[in-house]
């Protein structure tokens, strides 16, 4: 038997597809060690990335969801860094009655990606004076992520840190949630959902002027949009501004 066939045989066993490899082993007792280790490694990866979600759902519910995910999603990369990137979507489908759990998992995943995202060159503030804001586009720093949320994810995050129950899981009205990295630490804050919409549009390549127009159509005044821009620049969310701004998202 060739090396290639032996390796596919052992991989088939590990992935639960076939146990035919046992016939090619001098002693198959240890096969179960590899079979178990694969699942344990991927489950541990999900538990590590989504530790707060696991605490929120409880071990039994989280592990049940994780095991279904692992069975359906083999790892295809040498690194586990991106494994489970769509686990929040899986949670959303598997637990439709717990929409806040999927949003919490999204936040954890985004924080993890921001932690080791590429370093961005610092913004050249002096160049801002010459920007043509009618035509300007913005490049956001690697690791910046944004979405709208219906659950009180910031409240849940805090409640898990202080081990305190939360009175209300869902927000009275949707909010935005933005994630970025500053001083090597991943951070998040809730925001006006129109601000989240503006960031999403800009990350998709819209000009600043068109994002402002969209925000205005949703009721945001120009001063408000200016304040958002000021905070993006001050917090390091934006790494380049100008017609030639290269997307880093």
């Amino acid at each position: 038997m060739t090396l290639m066939r032996l390796q596919h045989g052992l991989a088939d066993y590990i992935h639960g597809r076939s146990s035919a490899i046992a016939a090619d082993l001098a002693d198959p007792r240890g096969l179960a060690v590899y079979h178990h280790a694969y699942r344990a490694t991927l489950r541990a990866c999900l538990r590590d990335t989504y530790a707060r979600t696991a605490k929120w759902l409880g071990d039994e519910a989280f592990d049940a969801a994780a095991d279904v995910y692992v069975a359906a999603n083999p790892s295809h990369s040498w690194t586990l860094d991106a494994y489970g990137a769509d686990f929040p979507d899986h949670l959303g489908q598997a637990r439709p009655d717990d929409p806040e759990a999927a949003e919490l998992a999204w936040l954890e995943g985004a924080m993890r990606r921001a932690f080791s995202a590429a370093d961005a060159a610092p913004l050249d503030h002096a160049a801002l004076a010459a920007v043509d804001w009618e035509r300007a586009t913005l490049a956001f720093a690697p690791g910046v992520a944004v979405r709208r949320i219906a659950g009180d994810v910031p409240g849940i995050w805090h409640s898990l840190e202080v081990d305190r129950a939360l009175a209300q899981l869902m927000l009275a009205a949707p909010l935005g949630l933005v994630v970025w990295r500053a001083d090597l630490e991943p951070r998040f804050r809730s925001c006006d959902p129109r601000e989240a919409g503006a960031i999403m549009a800009l990350m998709a390549g819209a000009t600043f002027a068109s994002a402002c127009a969209e925000a205005a159509a949703e009721g945001a005044d120009p001063q408000q949009v200016g304040a958002w821009l000021g905070s993006w620049l001050a917090d390091g969310l934006v790494c380049a501004v100008g017609p030639a701004a290269q997307g880093a998202h």
């Binding site: 991989a11 016939a23 090619d24 082993l25 694969y38 040498w78 590429a118 370093d119």
Partner: protein
Amino acid sequence: MTHATPTAAEQRFGLGMRVPHYSAYLDGSAPVDFVEVISENFMVDGGRPLHVLEQVRSHYPVALHGVSMSVGSADGLDPAYLSRLKALADRIEPMWVSDHLCWTGIGGHNSHDLLPVPYTNEALQTVSTNIQRAQDHLGRSLLIENPSSYVTFAHADMGEWEFMAEMARRTGCYLLLDVNNIFVSAANHGFDAIAYLDGIPADRVRQIHLAGHTPGRNGLLIDTHDQPVPEGVWALYAEAVRRVGPVATMIERDDDIPALEVLLAELDYARSIAQPMDRAA
């Protein structure tokens, strides 16, 4: 093609850098001769991990120890992995870059485990080709570690130590001798650990790993790295040092990690075994 060779054989005692002890390595207060890190933990785009490693590197020599090169894979090596590793090595300037005699995936699926290679002539050719390719890409000679294993294949052309020796001869790579892995595999597969040490080319060994293990089901020992180094491994370490002379020794502890002082005391015990041998040599 010529490759940068690892730093010369020299008696040094180090520890693996694990999160609970980061602060002692960041400020240079941990009394170790070198630090070993898991390469893949730092093969990231940016952020804190690389800042941490560069600061630690300013205090200590660093050994890059990988778990994902997969030199035993019939699929060959992943060029993207090699490029990431080269970028890290060029940035950190390590004592050496090491990985395992194993494969981790096939057909686009990764096991994230150190899977055993059959000790056949065909596998030897594959492993040697992959190691040479990696060394050419990295521009440096590798250290390759003997694995612990839980199965053996029905067909083999040679023993593990003969495979290691011939692999080193063909590729010019150096060896990382994991004494706990020899102990575990000898117990699991019934070979003579002393014969294994006798079969290893001593002049190719640059580093020794020490660790603990745990009895598993079916009478197998499992390489868990969650225990102190046990007496049997210390005894085998003494035999190893007697044969390979003064090389770097490092203790691996990856789970149930105790206070740094506990690991430093274990490292002192390693010194107490190795240094009399060194003087006698």
